[in-house]
Symmetry: C2
Subunit: 211 residues, 2 copies
């Protein structure tokens, strides 16, 4: 198991972020996630916006190492994390919208319908929502009802309608979860969170003697 | 040619943005682009960051209507604009990184090498950079040397290394161009800019009697 090597420009960017980040009380692993999100957005506000349940990073590391599938809401999120997943644990990556039934229910978005279908097939997956608050809300309902048991949910939909409500629903659950408070988020943010988690898990694997 | 219909949630989001945007001196078409970027990021700072050459929107409309190919730097940008392009003008969409030669030159990134190859093949394309400043810098050099003649360049790489320099190089050129001042940008921003331009061109086509 070789060390994971980012492009040299990534490390140069991280050095700039380290210089400019200022004070924070993030754990080293939490900071690794925040730093990759800032690298993807050049937006230091994410320092204050990212929230982690206590078990999120450790639980995710184990799930990723065990080959857990990664279900994203939309194709852009999947596209943004496929390369680093392929270079490490090679977990299956599934974009839910591509599995939407031909005729979703009248009050369902296609992403929501696709996500519910994927959640049925992969109830223990790592779920990553970077776009569709409807999908995050539907997933949270399934978790509350006990039919889906995610290894982790990343809640990073972006926007103005139902977004804050969907993140609130996630924050209220008792499962491993990472979310972006407020309206911000997006495919690039969601992918950056997962890429950071994958690299942390890879480095943990090395430390645990898998190297 | 039917009217382009976004999801109802998009129009609800636009209404929130209209309420909160405050004063600006953007043209109606410039505002349509800015609004879609804010919709994709929930970041109102883009109101001040987006820059347009005078001819950018009109030139792009004609190029899109004429079937001009769209060359993006990375797959995430291509993924983010494919749906709306498919539902309108169906321009070819090419992600340069997927056309990188097997052995790029030692001082070249893969995206840069792929972009130069695509620029040779499609010198009049609409080029969209949402990630790699190296690709934008290389493209600007080719334009200066007169070997590439883009219909439009969108310069929205994000980050901390070479990003501001690459946008400066684009802003100095005398071609149709849209860029994001400063460090911000990213795949979602680049895709949102193009999606707004495609819809504007589609609506212009209707107004011009193509309907």
């Amino acid at each position: 198991m070789p060390a994971f090597e980012d492009h040299p420009i990534v490390y140069q960017s991280f050095a700039v972020i380290d210089q400019e980040i200022g004070e924070h009380d993030l754990s080293p692993e939490g900071y690794a996630v925040v730093r990759r999100v800032i690298h993807a957005t050049a937006d230091f506000e994410f320092k204050k916006l990212l929230r982690f349940s206590d078990d999120a990073i450790a639980a995710t590391s184990m799930a990723l190492q065990a080959g857990c599938p990664i279900v994203t809401d939309v194709g852009m999120v999947a596209q943004g994390l496929r390369r680093i997943v392929r270079e490490t644990f090679q977990n299956p990556v599934i974009a839910a919208i591509e599995h939407a039934p031909k005729s979703p229910l009248p009050d369902q978005t296609r992403t929501e319908a696709g996500l519910l279908r994927c959640a049925q097939q992969y109830p223990h997956a790592l779920f990553v929502i970077g776009n569709a608050p409807t999908a995050l809300l539907a997933l949270c309902r399934q978790v509350s009802e006990g039919t889906v048991h995610p290894s982790l949910v990343v809640g990073a939909p972006v926007g103005f309608i139902n977004v804050i409500e969907s993140k609130q629903a996630l924050s209220d659950l008792e499962i491993p979860r990472i979310w972006v408070a407020g309206r911000k988020g997006g495919s690039g943010v969601a992918a950056a969170i997962v890429n950071a988690l994958v690299i942390l898990a890879w480095e943990r694997g090395m430390g645990d003697g898998y190297g």
